[in-house]
Amino acid sequence: MKNKGLAVPYVAWLAIFVVAPLILVLIYAFHDGSRFTLDNFRVMGTYAAVFGRSFLLAAIATLICILIGYPVAWFLAREGAGMRRIATILIMLPMWMNFLLRTYSWMSILENTGLLNTLFQKIGLISLVNGIFGTNYTYFSMINTQGAIVLGMVYNYLPFMILPIFTVIEKIDPRLIEAAQDLGANSAVVFRKLIFPLSVPGILSGVTMVFVPSVATFAISRLLGGGMVTLLGDLIEAQFLGGAYNPYLGSAISLVMMVIVLVCMAVMNRFGEGEEEAMLL
């Protein structure tokens, strides 16, 4: 509190590298290089499909992260310190590797002649499927699909779902659970009426941390989607670095995406609170 001066470097950093670019994006979005205009937003409808696809894939990935992450977080929170440490390291381990490297390795796993397809061939799964369905596959198409992109998102962002949920579950006072049991609740009721409502804040911050980067990703869709599936991230990148060079349109798309994300988050947080209120009535 006394050493306000210590915050100066970070505040300066924020001002230069976060606030200033945001303002630039805002200005660019309403500009076309010569004058202020709304033209950038008029053409936004053209990209509705990309918007829809990006938000859908990110939503699917987030949902899968909740479904996988919640039980893992639950398990972690109930384990002893030793097991917990090992599990946490295992969860964090992939994050210590370079993001691109991790995603590249999924490419070689999912490729038509990749690890999985080779394995499927060796164990006869492919010929089995061909036999049953009368098809003539030599491999399963996994790479360059929307499924591969979702897989990439889940794989990369799952830890960000597990950790916040784990933190809130771990903080729940075990006496609350005992109190509920004392009052006649079995495990299912304890979970439904107590643990789950109390872990909603963790789920919400997990959702934020998975959904937002998933919506904006371009590396995952580039590498695992093979350029076949265009997402918002790719679209924006193309406006700044690619052949379609148009930073004004890119800024406008970024701005629209940001607004949609913010609205989604606001609605979700409302819903989260509503959920809690609903439990009371």
Partner: protein
């Protein structure tokens, strides 16, 4: 007067090789307010958790109404608990907290003549019972508050209402007043006792606060090191402590080495004093308890013993003064002020002596030396005039 409800038989419990309960035996009567009292780590909370079903004893039996309930889970016992720090559900308001148990409950379906089918309680019935219970704990009108919008005392009442609304036969309370400030604690002590009498069920109360135990209990169980040291009414425990531990834990006590010359005659400081206890072997070494309030300060020449005041503390109702009697320091509570350094005489009536058999606790308690280190140099043992003291003692002895 009333029948036995709970019996604990030969309970043993250990955590990490450390014995927490050592062959504990106890019975609890119906409708009684029983307090498990002891320092932290004495096993009182473990005992409570075993009764509640949250901890399974390593050996021994828990009987409820004569039936062994060791393996009955908490929610099937006719026992509810008020937890330390209340453990109110933070995501529910007061009404829902109190209604929680009722919502879990299933009663025989009145529409089913065989009585096998069960139904949940009707919402109207739940509301009626919850509001009734909130009335009892004086929390009417707080139904829609969240626990974090309540004061400590109010949270406390919610916790009690939440447990009592299920009409348990026994209510377990684990240091429920620990988080409250002194004034509120005193009010709640009286209120708890009132509620207990109003609902007419057994309360088993755990505390380390001896005053709380004395105020509320019908029966106090003093525990230490996993064993029961004494069971009795508050008066019994205070007036007739069984050993030095109990004497020290309940109230303030001066505990002095003595010799029981014969019935009703005890020797301390080389002098003989009349007392009211008996039943000891001739010349048996004993612990003599003298309560600070049982000691009268008199002029030196009338004193049975003569000592030097080494410390005086004003406590509002009385002064706590530390008096050095030949190197052993006593606490005396008196309304008369004596200055530090003054020589005073003391007089103790025969019923002021409580004689206890020697125990493992002998010599560990009852000395107030640490009270006033800085005055040590004033109390030179050699310098004491023994003849004066003995003469005074004999003088007062004649008066008896």
């Amino acid at each position: 007067m009333s029948k036995e409800l709970i019996r604990l038989r030969d309970l043993c419990m250990a955590f990490d090789d450390e014995l927490v309960l050592d062959h504990l035996n106890l019975y609890i009567n119906d409708k009684e307010f029983l307090t498990l009292l002891g320092p932290s780590g004495c096993g009182k909370t473990t005992t409570l958790r075993i009764i509640g079903g949250f901890t399974t004893p390593m050996s021994g039996d828990v009987l409820f109404d004569g039936v062994r309930i060791n393996d009955v889970p908490p929610y099937q016992r006719q026992i509810n608990t008020v937890f330390q720090k209340y453990a109110l559900f933070p995501n529910m308001n007061v009404f829902e907290n109190v209604a929680f148990g009722l919502r879990m409950k299933r009663i025989p379906d009145p529409a089913d003549p065989s009585g096998k089918r069960t139904v949940k309680l009707a919402e109207a019935e739940i509301e009626k019972q919850v509001l009734e219970m909130l009335e009892i704990v004086s929390l009417k009108g707080f139904e829609h508050r969240k626990p974090d919008a309540l004061s400590g005392g109010q949270q406390q009442r919610v916790a009690i209402a939440r447990a009592l609304v299920n009409r348990p036969k026994v209510l377990l309370l684990d240091e429920p007043l620990g988080a409250l400030d002194l004034k509120l604690r005193k009010d709640m002590q009286i209120e708890l006792k009132k509620i207990q009498q109003q609902v007419g069920i057994t309360f088993v109360y755990v505390t380390h606060d001896q005053e709380e135990a004395l105020t509320m209990s019908d029966t106090i169980v003093v525990m230490d090191k996993g064993s029961i040291q004494q069971i009795g009414t508050p008066e019994d425990i205070y007036n007739e402590p069984k050993n030095a531990f109990v004497a020290d834990f309940i109230g303030e006590s001066n505990i002095i080495d003595g010799l029981m010359l014969q019935d009703k005659l005890v020797k301390i400081y080389g002098k003989t004093f009349p007392c009211v206890d008996g039943g000891f072997v001739l010349n048996e070494p004993v612990d003599v308890v003298i309560r600070p309030e049982d000691i009268d300060i008199v002029p030196v020449e009338q004193g049975q013993l003569v000592g030097t005041v080494t410390n005086v503390t004003f406590k509002g109702m009385q002064y706590d003064i530390i008096v050095d009697f030949r190197g052993f320091k006593w606490l005396i509570q008196t309304t008369d002020h004596s200055p530090v350094g003054a020589k005073i005489g003391v007089k103790i009536d025969p019923d002021g002596f409580h004689i206890m058999k020697k125990s493992e606790y002998s010599g560990k308690f009852g000395d107030y030396s640490s009270y006033s280190e800085e005055y040590d140099e004033l109390s030179d043992v050699e310098a004491l005039d023994e003849t004066e003291e003995v003469a005074a003692a004999e003088g007062s002895g004649n008066e008896e």
